[in-house]
Amino acid sequence: MSHMHQPWTEKYRPRQISDVAHQEEVVQTLQHALGSGNLPHLLFYGPPGTGKTTSALAIVRQLFGPELCKTRVLELNASDERGIAVVRDKIKTFAANAVGPAVPGYPCPPFKVIILDEADSMTGDAQNALRRTMETYSRVTRFVFICNYVSRIIEPLASRCAKFRFKPLQGAVINDRTRHICGAEGVELGEGALETLSQVSGGDMRKAITTLQSAVRLRGSPVLPATLLDVSGTVPASAVQGLLAAARTGQFSAIQEAVTGLIADGYPAQEMLLQLQSVLLAESGTSDAAKGKILGQLAEADKNLVDGSDEFLQLLGTASYAQRVLMGRA
């Protein structure tokens, strides 16, 4: 039963490093490492849904096989406690262990692998505590760091690793994979669904697949573009245009009404800002200087939202500023 209801992101997670899509350099280097049975310390970084965790899991599986994986690999992520105490005890103990015998059929090189997923959420102290550990036990242990932002990994750790950047996936690659999954699951795609899906995902494979599966679960096949938009939480273009039109009227009451309506309809403010940006960029009637000012404000509002500000007030403030700019009063 659990197999049937597995999320497709898990079900279709590539099991072999060669199946990882679109990251040619990474795949090539790792294939080579597989062949020679030697592995440097690795640092994978890149946006979400580009295959970082998948690659790490695939390579240890191919190195050690499913059985040996249990004893040779330690996977820690942000859901595990990873303060300095854990680094001192758990990681160090695991790193210091001697390696057991190899199993036939896999390269089984004589070292263990520690995968630290979401490493950018580790504290600086904990990262510092790893420095010496990495070197002392490098004969028997390799580290794989996975993170979104390489700048949050302290330099001494980053310089000890071979770094790999994972690129956002391109539309064609996502389309390929989507078609493959649809074929395997017996799902039909409506007209324009593929394009919508790659547009919605923004290069994030996980988002594309989750959106697809949600759409299929909600409405069944064939999957229509409208369903995909609905499921992904995209704000309809008419709503964004409405806000912009309200700003153009020059009346404050118009934008207040528009913003109140949007918030009551439950549209996420961040998504609104994002789409406001793309609509604004495509617009031809507005001067570049005005666009620049409004875009600056959008960035400001987005940061405030991430900091936890009220959606209504941020959106109203932004709309009010945009109105002043469009009316030539700012």
């Binding site: 039963m1 659990s2 049937m4 209801h5 597995q6 999320p7 898990e10 979400p48 849904g49 992520n77 942000a78 859901s79 406690e81 303060g83 105490a85 854990v86 005890d89 758990k90 979401e118 959420s121 994030d204 996980r206 988002k207 989750t210 599966q213 949600s214 679960r217 909600l218 409405r219 499921v231 992904s232 939480g233 020059g250 404050f252 207040q256 009551a264 309809d265 439950g266 996420p268 403010a269 961040q270 509002a301 405030n304 939202l305 991430v306 900091d307 936890g308 500000s309 009220d310 209504f312 007030l313 941020q314 109203l316 403030g317 932004t318 009010s320 500023y321 109105q323 002043r324 009063r329």
Partner: protein
Amino acid sequence: MLYVDKYRPKALEQFELHSDVAQNLQKLVVNGDCPHTLFYGPAGAGKKTLILALLREIYGAGVEKLKVECKPWKIQLPSRVLELEFTTVSSAYHVEMNPSDVGNNDRYVVQEIIKEMAKSRPIGADGQQGFKVLVLNEVDRLSKEAQHSLRRTMEKYSAACRLVLACNNVSKVIEPVRSRCLCIRVAAPSVDSIAQQLQHVAGREKLCLPPALAQRLAAGCDRNLRRALLSLEACRVQQYPFREDQQVAEPDWELYIKEIAADVLGEQSPKRLFQVRGKLYELLVNCIPPEVVLRKLALALMPKLDDELRHSTAEDAAFYEHRLQEGSKAIFHLEAFLARFMSNYKQYIINLGF
């Protein structure tokens, strides 16, 4: 029993508002399974009602046998043992909790509960192990660390438990969590449909509700159905039969905020600011969230202003509300907002040449 609870739809097929969402949810659980879901939308839109009905759809009426439990937990951390006590509402199939109850320790609590659930899985009708549902309210108030710790937990324990999350402000939920959930937007009902629901409830209570009053109740509730129903009940207590021009009681804290706004518009001086501070404290000690105070205050000031001042007020409100979230003492920022407003207002009056 309050009308709000009495006429809450119990099963998905009973939904009149959000019938499209309810139908979709029905399809979702057709095999007795559901993905992780995130319900988002403004207060009083029907998120909780939908969640309860969803649970009922999955497990049947058994989920309505609720028990409220307040038990002490001992959580073993690597460095120390954390002892705390918190309340959960649970049935045999689900556990519901408010992470904000446990403050900074929310991440340990969430993980502990999920691990606990994974250990005691209910057995489904087909004799196979099923899953439990963890309902987390107000995920937007869950700390960032706790949200991060949900990321992998959601994948790892996906066989044993499903998460149903509910929040008002989806921007406060981190992207990795959102991308793992099926996000369901619950829009607030429109004024007309609220009025319709009020009539419907009144009909079932055998009350005669004049359409004009229903419309007024619906318009005055910020598209919040719960609030509309509560005010209907308050009106019923106040006087029955209803009169068309009957007064609709506003919550006293809102009246109080309007009073503050009137004070500020009446005089702009340090002395007045000092007086107003006392009133702001009064609101805060009565547990009105500071961001709500600021929002309502800005809205209460708006109607009396010129467009020029409205712009600056709106932008200042956004600015100080952000400061308020970043800072620690709300009163500073509320007061700063009012001081800034007074200054702007006075400047404007002087420029007009009075």
